[in-house]
């Protein structure tokens, strides 16, 4: 078990390094000098060259990369060109909002997704089943920006219940969380339903019923526990993608989060900022997958290695 985890961890580190190098190279081979973009059209050539040298952008890529890694290990991700502040500090400030948004969105998605999935499975082919599955189809097929704007229109513009953008109070998080979680709710509901239906056909469900367990007992104690295995894996992966930056949602609702920093990094050709945010997202996704694996092996004794 411990050995298993260690080897996974090692894999994760390798993937992270690989991705970091890839981003590093890609950001440097795109045509156009970022310093020139930064200084504007009328900047002096000499000044541009001096700045480029100062930032180390004229050095070989591998050397730049190693220096970047060494700095990153000390928590220094460079200074944003466009915002003039250390990237680490910018991301630290943005992370709080992204985390709150992701947690709320995940809670919304999972509570809604699991309950409606279970109800749909139990009432297979009933009215509620069709209703929930129709809604979840909308959920998985509607793009986030559309959901976001619909919500804004109905709940903020029309009904004035919630703020249209910004997170000055907790209320500001509700609409973005719903918009962001909508998709995930749909896919969780579908997965829960299909897995549960499959599991309710299993022989051990009959065994449990033959013991005298009622419907609810069988569902909760025997079926759900098995059905949750793939669902939990999906949820862990979902959470990491929610957390790795909701670019669109944060932009539509003007929330200062990681996603918006990434947008800033792209539009400003702000290499350190973009590098930092992409690296962060990679880390979160890798951690999410790692966590999913660990959870799975805790929940499923067949995967867990005894002793």
């Amino acid at each position: 078990m411990v050995r298993n985890i260690l080897s996974r961890l090692l894999q994760a580190v390798c993937v992270l390094l690989g991705v970091a190098l890839l981003i590093f190279i890609m950001l440097r081979i795109v045509p156009g000098n970022p310093i020139a973009t930064l200084m504007g059209e009328h900047a002096d050539r000499a000044v541009i060259e001096r700045m480029t040298a100062e930032l180390g952008l004229d050095q070989p890529i591998l050397r730049q990369f190693i220096r970047y890694l060494a700095d990153a290990l000390r928590g220094d991700f460079g200074t944003s060109y466009s915002l003039g502040k250390p990237v680490a500090a910018l991301m630290g400030a943005a992370f709080g909002n992204t985390l709150k948004l992701a947690v709320l969105a995940a809670l919304f998605a999972w509570i809604l997704g699991i309950t409606s999935g279970v109800i749909a499975a139990v009432r297979k082919n009933g009215l509620l089943d069709h209703l929930f599955m129709g809604a979840s189809l909308l959920g998985v097929s509607m793009p986030v920006f559309m959901v976001a704007m619909l919500l804004q229109y109905v709940f903020a513009y029309h009904l004035h219940w919630l703020p249209i953008a910004g997170v000055s109070s907790w209320k500001g998080f509700i609409l973005p969380a719903v918009a962001l979680g909508w998709n995930s709710a749909g896919s969780v509901a579908r997965l829960v339903r299909s897995t549960l239906l499959e599991i309710l056909e299993e022989d051990y469900i009959d065994t449990a019923r033959a013991k005298g367990r009622g419907q609810l007992g069988v569902l909760v104690l025997h079926a759900l526990r098995n059905a949750m295995l793939p669902v939990i894996t999906m949820m862990a992966v979902q959470f990491s993608s929610l957390l790795s930056g909701a670019v669109i949602t944060e932009s539509v609702f003007s929330i200062n989060g990681i996603g918006r920093l990434a947008v800033q990094g792209i539009s400003g050709r702000d290499i350190p900022l973009l590098q930092g945010t992409v690296l962060f997202s990679t880390l979160v996704v890798i951690l999410g997958n790692f966590l999913a694996d660990c959870l799975y092996s805790v929940l499923d004794p067949r995967v867990r290695k005894e002793g």
Binding site: E202, D203, Y204, D206, T207, A208, R209, A210, K211, G212, R213, G214, Q215, G217, H222, R225, N226, L229, L299, D300, P301, R302, E306
Partner: protein, 321 residues
């Protein structure tokens, strides 16, 4: 004890009604082992499931009554049935490999019925589980309680299932092919266990396609074919004087196995599709003594001697004119 009268269980499929159990009447007296024997697909398991009230959709009990100590359990509410299942009647399912919940320790699964019906303390349940594990011959009982199903062999899993079904000391145990997955030595142990259990007051309905198993333990036997009972008699009579051509065929295929014949004596033909049964005797297409009326007229279950009934036109009593 258990009395089943005119039970009909059908599957309502897109292609039509499949009569998996058709007008089956049987009786399991207290303290006896009663067998049901028949080829694969003849409706043995569906009969058992009907008694348990565990027929899955699109299957449904169409008619008939199932009396447990005189009480018709078909008409009970689901809640009342749950109280009976596991405590008064319990069942061992056919598939030991898939009948245990893979993510729950077997000890817990065995104790579950006890905790559910007798509301005993966890500790007492565990003690009882150890006791029953030892009774069914699971070595290292205490340690085994903490195992997960995938850590056990097929034989051990089957014993866990048997232990699970017996832990509440039910009045009636339905065992659906309890030994099919096991090798002969284990089979013998399990059968001995069943006899012992029966001696302590549990009636058993034993389902098997293996006549050898039936011969070893049963007091009375029902032979099923295509959803119907075709012959019933006490074990000795059935083996000594089989009447129905199907029963004879079954016995011949066993004895040819015993005598080590080179060519296995099998019943020619295949089990008919339950969707397209002939109007008359369902065995008529494969029967060596098929007469003209057999295909069109369903024979009654005639009593040829006390306690011995046969569903075959060969035994029609001449109607006095």
């Amino acid at each position: 004890m258990l009395q089943v009268n005119h039970l009909c269980t059908s599957f309502f499929t897109d292609k039509g009604e499949v009569r998996a159990v058709d007008d089956v009447s049987l009786e399991v007296p207290a303290g006896k082992i009663v067998g049901i024997v028949g080829e694969s697909g003849c409706g043995k398991s569906m009969t058992a499931r009907s008694v348990m009230g565990l027929v899955r959709a699109p299957g449904k009990i169409k008619s008939g009554e199932i009396l447990l100590d005189g009480r018709d359990i078909v008409r009970l509410s689901e809640h009342e049935r749950c109280a009976i299942r596991g405590s008064e009647i319990s069942m061992i399912f056919q598939e030991p490999m898939t009948s245990l919940n893979p993510v729950v320790r077997v000890g817990h699964q065995v104790e579950e019925a006890l905790l559910l019906h007798e509301h005993v303390k966890k500790q007492e349940a565990e003690a009882r589980a150890v006791e029953i594990f030892e009774a069914v011959g699971i070595p290292d009982a205490k340690k085994r309680l903490r195992s997960y199903p995938h850590q056990l062999s097929g034989g051990l899993r089957q014993r866990v299932l048997i232990a699970m079904a017996m832990i509440c000391r039910p009045k009636l145990l339905i065992a659906d092919e309890p030994t099919t997955a096991l090798d002969v030595t284990v089979e013998a142990q399990i059968l001995r266990l069943m006899k012992k259990l029966c001696g302590s007051g549990t009636s058993i309905l034993l389902i098997s396609h293996n006549l050898g198993v039936i011969a070893q333990v049963c007091d009375y036997v029902y032979v099923m074919y295509a959803g119907r009972i075709v012959e019933q008699a006490d074990t000795f009579t059935l083996f000594d004087n089989p009447c129905h051509p199907y029963t004879k065929g079954l016995l011949d295929s066993v004895s040819s196995l015993r005598s080590g014949a080179q060519v296995l004596d099998t019943i020619p033909g295949v089990v008919p599709n339950l969707l397209h049964l002939p109007a008359g005797c369902s065995f008529s297409m494969r029967c060596g003594c098929c007469m003209e009326k057999c295909a069109d007229l369903l024979p009654e279950l005639h009593e040829t001697e006390p306690g011995h009934r046969v569903r075959c036109h060969l035994f029609d009593k001449e109607e006095p004119a």
